[in-house]
Symmetry: C2
Amino acid sequence: MLPGPVPMPERVRAAMMRQAINHRGKEFSGIYADCVRILKTAFGTENDLFVISGSGTASMEAAVGNFGRGRKIACLVNGKFGERLFKMSQRYGTAIEIASEWGTPLDLGRLEKELSAGAEMVTLVHNETSAGIKNPAEKVGKLARKYDALFVMDGITSIAGDVVKSDAWGVDIAVVGSQKCLAAPAGLSAISVSSRAWERMTEPRPFYLDLAAYKKSASATLMETPYTPAVPLFLALREACLLIDEEGLPARIERHRRMSEAVRAAAKAWGLPLFAQTDADHEYSNTATAIRTPAGIEDSEFRGTIKKMGIEIAGGQDHLKGKIFRIGSMGAVSAPEILATLAAVQFALKKHGYTPKGDGVMAAAGVLG
Amino acid sequence: MLPGPVPMPERVRAAMMRQAINHRGKEFSGIYADCVRILKTAFGTENDLFVISGSGTASMEAAVGNFGRGRKIACLVNGKFGERLFKMSQRYGTAIEIASEWGTPLDLGRLEKELSAGAEMVTLVHNETSAGIKNPAEKVGKLARKYDALFVMDGITSIAGDVVKSDAWGVDIAVVGSQKCLAAPAGLSAISVSSRAWERMTEPRPFYLDLAAYKKSASATLMETPYTPAVPLFLALREACLLIDEEGLPARIERHRRMSEAVRAAAKAWGLPLFAQTDADHEYSNTATAIRTPAGIEDSEFRGTIKKMGIEIAGGQDHLKGKIFRIGSMGAVSAPEILATLAAVQFALKKHGYTPKGDGVMAAAGVLG
């Protein structure tokens, strides 16, 4: 129940057992094309889309490294992954950090100031799992367009689990990771690129992550990758994408929303505040929920008790270590996993000295039942 | 029978079926440590070694991108992968191409001139599969040391299939790919870094491929990767490494050598010249053999006939398309695969109008039997 990597359906895992195939052949081309077709739906885009053999971080670097070299980049930061994007941007351009406390609303007024002062690119983490907050991608997209800046959106933990409309929101470059809402194995990521972005490529670009090379290889008669792809992971990703198609994207998103709603209902019943601060623009994440750990509970003992029952939840990262715990509801997660997890958490809360105000498990069941 | 990707033993493939595990835990740490321990033997090194979730190209970029920024880089080129390293070097430093015709000896005299004129890094492809030639790594290493330059060696297709002594040869940075002699799935690579190299890191570095981050994550109590690793591929690589340990590295190298010797014996019997030009310093590759296609034989028809028998061999790349064919003898390949391949090739040669001078299959059997 981590906010990724998540358990994989058997069909996805079994796909990796296959013997090696030539990645410069017709079969691989079809596998890659299937992934791209279904991922475009999840991204809400008709733009070019590529699968990269590397984690979400690799694709985020591709965004900044292909389009941000030497540019003024405004980086919205209210969590760990926003920070990472800022650090990455510093290696390629002039990065401006627009920082809020983790889990609190972004400063869109400051963003507009930076844009009017000449920022040429905006980076945003749509769904910040480190703090359980969902950031206002559509609003940021509008601001970016108003000032003709490129909009890079980390959708690593939202795409295929929450509503994402890259094209409608004006996202120029969006990224997803394989081991999150897609429920595929870790090790792949996908990136979409708008025509506006293609017109503004910068130089010099990274080599392994040079998107011009990905475009060239994907446009040939056979759809290929420029360098050797992680073939077993592509086979698994294709199965994961087919499963999304079979479930139906709207049903999948609704399932994610309900599972997170159930977790939030449990926290409320326990009397534990959610970590994220929402407002008119910022919502709770629908794929990962961050809950404040009650005073006096020691994080590793608390999570250790839960792990004894075979369930793994996440702690806080960096300065939030010990202060929050996080429950992912990504991928194939459904009611049984959520109920079992909340029961284990409720037991651990009591065991380690916190008396829940009410029955969180039953509150969640009320949402799910 | 491609020069990679190669068929994987069942144990290696089966390892990928496992359910997702937390890559920030004790178990993953042990898996990573097993890989590193066995790979160090195959590299012939006691230097730091990391596994990167990305193909050999990613690790080669890590070499140039972490240690070559702004440097004068002398690139030895006698094949496709040497060319790639040169192009990569151009993105980071001042790259000097020391080019020979593909498959012909390198110009070590010119290398010494460039070194004495201030080149700070040398790049070499140890085993150039595009032309079937093995380049003199030890000699290049001596020259690099003489002029105190860093020595980057692409061992992607030699390590674990041929003798490699990184430390004894003065290699500062060596790289291997997973889908070649290791017989693991495509998608991982490994890189070793000497203390001399660590002292000379350059800035700014790539982000996903920042080796300082890999070092930090590998040195913690639990051995980790800085970003999400391709977990199923690590599980498979560990099995592949254990198989190397079980076979014994010297036996494995000797097997590769004999298989290639058998292929060369067949070519000789057929009266077909090998493509590589050897001399006192340059040998035939022991993991991939390039043979000149007889005049009048159309490459895709010829290889199509072989493919009909369920065997895939490689053609020439770039300007060598149609002029050579290449037989890999990497990984788990043993006598049955070699004999079947050579029988299919011999049949296809005859079918498409070339009358072999002699019986290559029996010549190969003479080496193997």
